[in-house]
Symmetry: C2
Amino acid sequence: MNRLLVATAAALAALASLPAAAQFQKPEDAIKYRQSSLTVMANHFGRVAAMAQGKVPFDAKVAADNAHVVATLSRLPFTAFGEGTDKGAPNRAKPEIWKEQAKFKDAAEKMAGEVAKLEAAAKAGNLDAIKAAVGAVGGSCKACHDDFRAEKYSN
Amino acid sequence: MNRLLVATAAALAALASLPAAAQFQKPEDAIKYRQSSLTVMANHFGRVAAMAQGKVPFDAKVAADNAHVVATLSRLPFTAFGEGTDKGAPNRAKPEIWKEQAKFKDAAEKMAGEVAKLEAAAKAGNLDAIKAAVGAVGGSCKACHDDFRAEKYSN
């Protein structure tokens, strides 16, 4: 096995060992699941971000509760990008997800790591730390979307 | 205010006070959010149920992790059934959701209560208690679907 294959195998093993590793009967089930978990995650991240940006008043408990939802969901979508799930239902997954699996896995890990920091900051009720963490999480979302999410849906 | 209105107001107040109470710009956002959170919740409940039913080997950690996802999501969908969210995107919400709000809220609370028991059983690693709780959660899902979910999608 060359180095790339080893890295890919390690990345897949890490994904497979996630506590909530997904088992999907059909590609469309995986697509629906990953889109759903990303939708809910983005919604709750948006609520914390709105506080960090001063768009809504800061409420430490609400921030902590929402950050916990984001953290609980943060690793789930990436269990649902198995081989063959590029088609089956309209989706925006770029072929690069499967061509550059180690890079994709790194991007997912980066986001989950930033989300963990956000959860810790929100749990501590530290608005300055929340603001910094929201910026880092948002940056990690954008970086992954830039590389791995297409502008338009395809089947 | 008559008794029904008082009960309805209390139910709505309880929903509004949920830590992660949703704010949605458009009805279709609320519909997408509630469908997404129910999709993820059902998926993870299914993984615990499969263990309870002996379809996959029991793994206490996997059961506990999945039950925690279910519990974290269990109250979220019901923040997204506000007035006017019956239309806007294909969905299966019956008019009874808004006609019988106290009953709908009771059904949602019943499910969340059973899910809390499931999480406790899974955390304790007690398979017999998990089996009982899975049955109760499944029953609460079905009861609510029977009353409040249509067979076919409409806009």
